[in-house]
Symmetry: C2
Subunit: 397 residues, 2 copies
């Protein structure tokens, strides 16, 4: 029988306690660049090549010996002979990217020249290396390009490709098993019929699966498990090959809410109950070293637990560094009052620089979340945000 460590914990403490028990997977795979965007590099990359690998003209114009242009100006142009090799007094046409001809050490840009037959008039003096790009100008052989853990963007892929790579080692995405529990649930395969009274379509698992994928995991959505301890236990055990398990429903104190006890019988319950509204009945635990999150069955409560407790765990498993969170500053269009002792999750929609909160009866319905642009998390110790107050608003993903 496992331990139950914490009851009714703040979001921050709950997350800290959970993350202390979650470790990056570090399983790797090799992929080509085609789908590398947003993957995490599992190796530190040092360039094996010089990029550029040759000395090239950096502008369109004439490759010359710089010394042949000494003193050249519009009033006193130098005259060079168009040629196919560089000697004293000769010039070769080059365009951006051309290999510099042997013997040339500078390029006069075409705008500073004119041509008459095979005589080039040069109206500006150039110094050695002017408009010439050297070997290794972009990347030198041996340069450290990216460290392990770097999140790959399209521009990064192009840099790696320029070094002659055609694949990279990245961390595998965590597999997240999603187990909906509840006798009242009807599979979405039967979405065409209205369920009998007392029964509802299973939709929290769908929402969870789509967020798991968005946040960098691979969802494995299992069938619906009935509200009995044995079935729930078997479902958890059958999914211990996954990297994380999310159960949905059955976390409250009702007679049917077996999930916390089952979790305690299989491993450790770290946190039972979070000081956030909605989202209170969330349970966090570890079974067989795998993080297990039990989401409340109420959709908005489940949503809150996903955002604040599942998202950071998936990112930790996947070795994704904390992102630069996109926080907007908005003015509250109407006052918010918040339940004391709880962090309060409140959806808002935007109108210019104003955030309008959704309050009242509908605040707990997922269709309200779906109408929202963002959300506010009112801290535990704040009871009121006044109308017109400037607050941090998070974009709803």
């Amino acid at each position: 029988m496992g331990r139950i460590l914490k009851k009714r914990t703040s979001i921050d403490d709950a997350l800290r306690c959970f993350l202390e028990n979650v470790f990056p997977l570090r399983k790797t795979e090799e992929i080509t660049f085609e789908f590398c965007t947003d993957r995490i590099l599992a190796e530190t990359l040092v360039s094996g090549r010089d990029v550029l690998h040759y000395r090239r003209a950096a502008m369109d114009g004439y490759a010359v010996r710089a010394s042949d242009t000494a003193g050249a100006s519009p009033a006193n142009p130098a005259q060079l002979q168009l040629s196919d090799r560089i000697e004293t007094g000769s010039a070769i046409w080059v365009h951006t990217g051309t290999l510099m001809p042997i013997g040339a050490d500078a390029v006069v840009v075409v705008e500073d020249t004119s041509i008459e037959g095979d005589i080039i008039e040069v109206r500006a003096q150039v110094y050695p290396n002017r408009n010439v790009a050297d070997v290794g100008e972009d990347i030198k052989r041996g340069d450290l390009i990216f460290e392990e853990g770097h999140l790959l963007r399209p521009c990064d892929a192009a840099v790696l490709a320029s070094m002659g790579l055609d694949r990279v080692k990245v961390f595998q995405k965590p597999i997240v098993a999603i187990i909906p529990t509840g006798d009242e649930l009807v599979s979405r395969e039967r979405a065409g019929e209205v369920p009998p009274p007392g029964m509802v379509l299973e939709t929290n698992g769908l929402m969870t699966a789509l967020y798991v994928r968005k946040w960098g995991g691979i969802p494995r959505h299992t069938g619906i498990v009935p509200d009995n301890p044995d079935s729930i236990k078997k479902a958890v055990e059958a999914n211990l090959d996954a990297d994380m398990i999310i159960l949905s429903g059955g976390t409250s104190v009702g007679k049917r809410d077996h999930v916390p006890d089952v979790l305690a019988s299989l491993g450790d319950v770290l946190v039972q109950g979070i000081k956030v509204s909605p989202g209170k009945p969330t349970v966090l635990g570890i079974v067989d070293q795998k993080p297990v999150v039990c989401l409340p069955g109420y959709p908005v409560a489940g949503f809150v637990a996903l955002y604040f407790l599942v998202r950071p765990v998936i990112k930790r498993l996947a070795s994704i560094a904390s992102p630069n969170e996109c926080v907007l500053r908005k003015r509250l269009a109407t006052k918010i009052t918040s339940k004391k002792g709880y962090a309060n999750f409140i959806c808002v929609f935007f109108e210019g620089d104003k955030a309008h909160p959704f309050t009242g009866a509908k605040a707990g319905s997922l269709s309200t979340v779906a109408k929202a642009d963002g959300f506010v998390l009112v801290p535990e110790n704040v009871e009121v945000y006044d109308e017109g107050e400037e607050i941090d608003v998070f974009l709803l993903e």
Copy 2:
């Protein structure tokens, strides 16, 4: 022969002129929810069902006639008979989500009760509808849920699924043909060998393809096309079945730069040359009503054109509304000087609330972009941002 409308235009003017000629595709397809995240709804959705579709208990406790609890308090509890049907003086156990028994109009929460045999002691008065969720509480049949053009998030999918939908109509993603041009280019299929001097691996097409996919398009990456007008013309014509064409390279004024002329021969060149550094030689046009962008061959210049001119066009084609851009306020760690008359693109890396600009020789290399966290776009009319100045920084995607 097409027209050339504008030379050396500001980014804003160029983009405005281009977008006036680009229209949302509006071709639709039906998809299931599994991969609906970030897709754009192509229909306005009105619910065909009530969600909830039955009257249910909103808490765990006892379903009762509210009138039977009149005056109940801890000092003066009401006594009710546990039963399987509701009559005067009876109560039925319910948990959250249970269909309300016929005749019951309220739920007393379990915390306000105790049980002794089959007698329930009720220590609080409830009013009709207390702790009862009504039919249509979340969504009423006929409610407008989302308008056409809505970007689907995971929470939205769950709402649609709760209405009994199992698929949605979305706009097709635009197909974007990507045509790398240049005699100096070597296919990445030969990435294993260092190219001969004067030749370079084709990597701009890769970068472009990955950004196209990230921004909501489907990239179609063609083979490398040599620097001659006929080949370029044939490649453009062969891809006019795509929704947009991006050519890379050959846009400058060098002797090999045929792309603008080819474009003018096939359609209209709207803009040739943008007042941005790097990125000046970008060309924008329309052929057969399809937007065509010619990216400069220099990787950072190509990158700038992708960000400021390709991204908004893909979003327009895909009917993706302007996103809430993630702009961060940072203090400049060192002074930036900027080329007058040009918007200057400058990469920065972050250190706390400070942004360190990359300047000097390396500023034009893609490996510098790859080292950056974000970028600053210094407006045309600004020549200096001072050290310590607070500026807008865009996150680099």
